[in-house]
């Protein structure tokens, strides 16, 4: 075979890239997975052999070019190889969130017309079988984990192991088959859909975003160059494979840069696996970073007095000098020396425990990050940066370059991305990785684009004058107005509240009302630890959430937010007048959050209408009864009486009205 391996541009599909990687980096690790407590490694050459066998097996099972195959599972090698094998045949993989309930799963599988599904285990098979009557086209399921499946009817089930073995044997028996597979790979077209990613559905039913191979690879190549990623980098794949972030950061960038992707042993071991792997490229949503920091702080509270003092002293030093050092600004010698000492005593060991010792490039995105939280990680020497993107862009729209990091911006446009702000403040973009359309939905595709080919993000934002970076304030359609005309961006207020570690979630209301009110979710980890230290006893989440002392603590936080908003002319009218603490955690299983853990505001408003009425009619408590869904899909009801509390607002001399 004479192939132009040197020209990466020639590889316009992922199967071609895999072939290139096996040729150029054959003995370098491609994939790691911890199994039975031991890290297993596959090189690019081994992965190519496996995926070729798998693809041959799939073809013999009936998968054809252009067809779709559902992929349901967590970050495991065989799940990623299922994606690769389908693409090798020119088929289109359709990953689905592994924690999707049967209802969501059946929607995607039916909408995508899948005949085949590659699934992780019995749990997923049970879910699919429970909705089988709605999936008349589904023929076969391939599973990774055989446990518990022995007594199942295997008419529609086959293990991935068998499919791979079957393909391997066929390839060995018939030498012509290898050439056929090469021809199949050559026949994959860069312009064809490479994958369909269903959006998490912040705005209703999810849509299938089609991404083409050549655009995906072009976008990934741009960022690989931007962040100087090479085959020597390592990433830990722990985010849902159906999310654009994982497909971009780990799968696409992994294949382009030929770096090693490590799969955790299980979702629950990700933190300790992170420590063992020590990735050099790391992505974490603000939520994860917050949980990590909360855990560190709680553990520090339990440390000895001396260690605690030492920790807080040097964190103070880091706060003062750390970010400036990272940004390459000038720092007095004393600061440099103290930081150097702090690094030996605190920062380096802390990073080691968190698994960040080797992190070279780290990103966070998905939602606004608290300035304190962001500064904290950067101050101990982690090069965290923000990016802004969405599925339709194949992730990246903007990203912060090294040395230009601010917690309240998302950076300038990425290489080759063109951004425009519409008159209503909505951000529009054109990007190399931009989607080719929504699957089977030309109407919605047209709705999402401007006539001249820009994609509408639905986010409101503007370019910051000082830095030239993009600032995102809220979803364009979520920005409302109070009755007195004050502009009301709910997310802005919610984010300010969520920066307190005690508050896990906040939902603000005010559009078409006289004043702003909020519903809060306490953070169980932080508040229960606080309760333990302060001898506050409670029997349940509900009791803790309704505890008078917890209300007092929340009141303090809101007062602080009100003070900070009073200083801002645009926001002074948005001070919070009344609030309540919800009796249950908002949950994706109940439809209150999306699978990516974003609040579905209108749904929550409907569900908790009784509470919102209470917030505005002046009562001091409101009764609520809600339906909850258990993990197995059964339903129950949860009833509670929730207290409502008034807040003092800070008087403002001249209330600025942004009309």
């Amino acid at each position: 075979m004479a192939l132009a391996f040197d020209a990466a541009a020639k590889a316009d599909t992922f199967p071609k890239l895999l072939r290139r990687n096996a040729h150029l980096y054959g003995s370098r690790p491609s994939m790691r997975h911890k199994d039975l407590g031991i890290w297993q490694t596959w090189t690019w050459a081994e992965v190519e052999e496996l995926v070729r066998a798998y693809a041959t097996g799939l073809s013999r099972a009936g998968l054809n070019r252009g067809e779709t195959m559902a992929i349901v599972g967590s970050n495991r090698p065989k799940i990623y190889w299922s994606v690769m094998a389908a693409q090798m045949l020119g088929a289109v993989p359709v990953p689905v969130y592994a924690d999707a309930v049967a209802e969501e799963l059946s929607f995607v599988l039916a909408h995508a017309d899948v005949r085949f599904a590659a699934v992780e285990d019995q749990e997923q098979i049970d879910k699919i079988q429970s909705v089988l009557e709605r999936l008349p086209k589904l023929e076969l399921m391939f599973y990774d984990e055989p446990r518990g499946l022995r007594d199942y009817d295997h008419a529609r089930l086959r293990s991935m192991e068998d499919v791979i073995a079957d393909g391997r044997k066929a390839l060995a028996d018939d030498p012509k088959l290898g050439a056929w597979l090469d021809a199949e790979i050559d026949a994959t077209q860069g312009a064809d859909p490479s994958i369909i990613l269903y959006t998490s559905g912040t705005t209703g039913t999810s849509k299938g975003v089609m991404l083409s191979g050549e655009r995906s690879i072009k976008a990934a190549t741009d960022t690989v160059v931007f962040d100087k990623l090479t085959e020597k980098d390592v990433a830990l794949a722990y985010l849902p494979i159906a999310w654009v972030g994982d497909h971009y950061l780990n799968y696409a960038q992994g294949l382009v840069a030929a770096f090693c992707t490590a799969c955790p042993e299980s979702a629950d071991t990700a933190t300790s696996d992170l420590r063992e792997i020590g990735p050099s490229f790391y992505f974490a949503p603000p939520r994860t970073l917050e949980a990590l920091l909360t855990r560190v702080m709680i553990r520090m509270e339990d440390a000895s007095a001396f260690k605690r003092k030492l920790f807080h002293y040097f964190i103070g030093v880091a706060r003062q000098y750390g970010e400036r050092l990272l940004n390459g600004e000038s720092v007095p010698l004393k600061g440099r020396l103290l930081y150097w000492l702090g690094n030996i005593l605190i920062y380096a060991p802390l990073k080691n425990v968190l698994g960040f010792s080797r992190v070279r490039v780290a990103y966070t995105a998905g939602e606004a990050i608290g300035p304190d939280l962001f500064a904290y990680y950067r101050s101990i020497g982690l090069n965290f940066k923000q990016l802004y993107g969405q599925t339709e862009a194949f992730l990246y729209v903007t990203a912060q370059p090294d040395g230009e990091i601010y917690s309240d911006t998302v950076g300038p446009a990425c290489p080759n991305v063109d951004i425009r702000i519409a008159e209503n403040g909505e951000v529009l973009f054109k990007s190399p990785g931009q989607f080719t359309g929504y699957f089977k939905d030309p109407v919605k595709t047209a709705e999402a684009m401007t006539p001249d080919g820009y994609v509408m993000t639905g986010d409101a934002g503007y370019f910051d004058e000082k830095t030239g970076h993009l600032k995102i304030i809220d979803r364009a359609k979520d920005v409302g107005r109070l009755n007195d005309g004050t502009m009301f961006p709910p997310k802005y207020i919610e984010n300010k509240l969520k920066f307190f570690p005690d508050i896990r979630e906040a939902v603000a209301y005010g559009d078409k009302h006289d004043f702003v009110t909020v519903m809060l979710n306490i953070d169980l980890t932080a508040v229960s630890s606080w309760a333990e230290r302060n001898n506050v006893s409670y029997g349940s989440y509900q009791e803790l959430a309704g505890h008078p002392d917890v209300y007092a603590m929340m009141e303090e936080h809101i007062a602080e937010v009100n003070r900070s908003m009073a200083e801002d002319k645009m926001m002074a009218g948005n001070q919070i007048k009344r609030f309540l603490v919800l009796h249950k955690e908002l949950d994706a299983d109940d439809g209150e959050l999306t699978r990516t853990q974003k609040v579905r505001r209108s749904f929550v408003a409907e569900r908790y209408a009784a509470l919102i009425n209470g917030l505005y009619d002046g009562s001091t408590a409101a009764d609520i009864s809600t339906e909850v869904t258990f993990e197995d899909g059964r339903k129950g009801t949860l009833a509670a009486r929730v207290n409502i509390q008034d807040m003092q607002t800070v008087p403002v001399g001249t209330v600025g009205k942004a009309a």
Partner: protein, 263 residues
């Protein structure tokens, strides 16, 4: 899932006419039943019915004053817990009985101790054949950890674990003995709904995957009826019913015992 209708299989253990009393208290009087290979057998009854005593008799912890126990075709009147363990009977306890300061991994490894053949000298050296043996055992234990999905607590001291997980570690330790008969004393006690469902799934999977015969005591009727192939009901030390869950549910004696009709 295992079919509720059982075809006659080999009897693994049979209890014949067993009586046990502590001084004047008659814990068990003349109870007979059998446990067949590969089935899930439940022993149920109200408080003080003699369920745990029955388990302790099977396990050799108590010596019955009367009656015989036949295990794998061999009648035994005197059986010590150690004999039971080497003979292939493992159990978990109503109240968790783990080595609290040890990690989950070490606790499960402890379950392998009966299977370790090398002497103390080699084991202390951790060298040569002893090392090889330990690696083999560790592999088996890792299989169990994977099976029970407790990878994330492998290195955590069990005292720090929530109750539901401690119960799972205890099940793991019993499984490490590769028992033919697994006795579970109230495996779901004190668990919430989700933990109960997890545990039920594990019990079914153990039965399915390892082919282990299981005898369990349980209070939660729903769980018992879902899980077990056959149920024996005790009340005040007497056997009042024996049969499939459906049969037992309809039995008037059982209904009376549970609803508290005057005895």
């Amino acid at each position: 899932m295992t079919a509720p209708e059982v075809k006659p299989r080999d009897v693994l253990l049979s209890v014949e006419n067993v009586s046990l009393s502590f001084g004047g208290v008659k814990a068990i009087s003349g109870v007979s039943f059998d446990i067949r290979k590969g089935e899930i057998r439940a022993i149920i009854g109200p408080n003080g019915a003699g369920k745990t005593s029955m388990l302790n008799v099977i396990n050799g912890f108590y010596q019955p004053q009367k009656g015989t126990i036949t295990f794998k075709g061999e009648p035994r009147t005197k059986m010590r817990p150690h004999d039971a363990a080497t003979g292939g009977i493992a159990r978990t306890f109503q109240n968790v009985a783990l080595f609290r300061g040890m990690s989950a991994l070490d606790n499960i490894m402890a379950g392998r101790s009966l299977k370790m053949n090398k002497n103390l000298f080699w084991q202390l050296l951790r060298y040569g054949p002893a090392m090889k043996e330990e690696v083999a055992h560790r592999r088996h234990v890792e299989d169990i950890i994977d099976f029970l999905k407790i990878q994330e607590i492998r290195r955590t001291p069990v005292a720090r674990l929530p109750y539901g997980l401690q119960k799972r570690v205890e099940l793991g330790r019993a499984l490490a003995m590769e028992p033919e008969l697994l006795l579970l004393d109230e495996p779901m006690a004190g668990m919430n709904l989700e933990e109960k469902e997890d545990m039920s799934r594990f019990i079914l999977d153990v039965n399915d995957h390892y082919g282990t015969t299981i005898a369990l005591i349980e209070h939660d009727m729903g769980v018992v009826m879902d899980l077990s192939d056959r149920v024996v009901v005790l009340d005040h030390g007497l056997k009042i019913a024996d049969g499939t869950p459906a049969e037992v549910m309809k039995n008037q004696n059982v209904i009376d015992a549970y609803l508290g009709v005057a005895h």
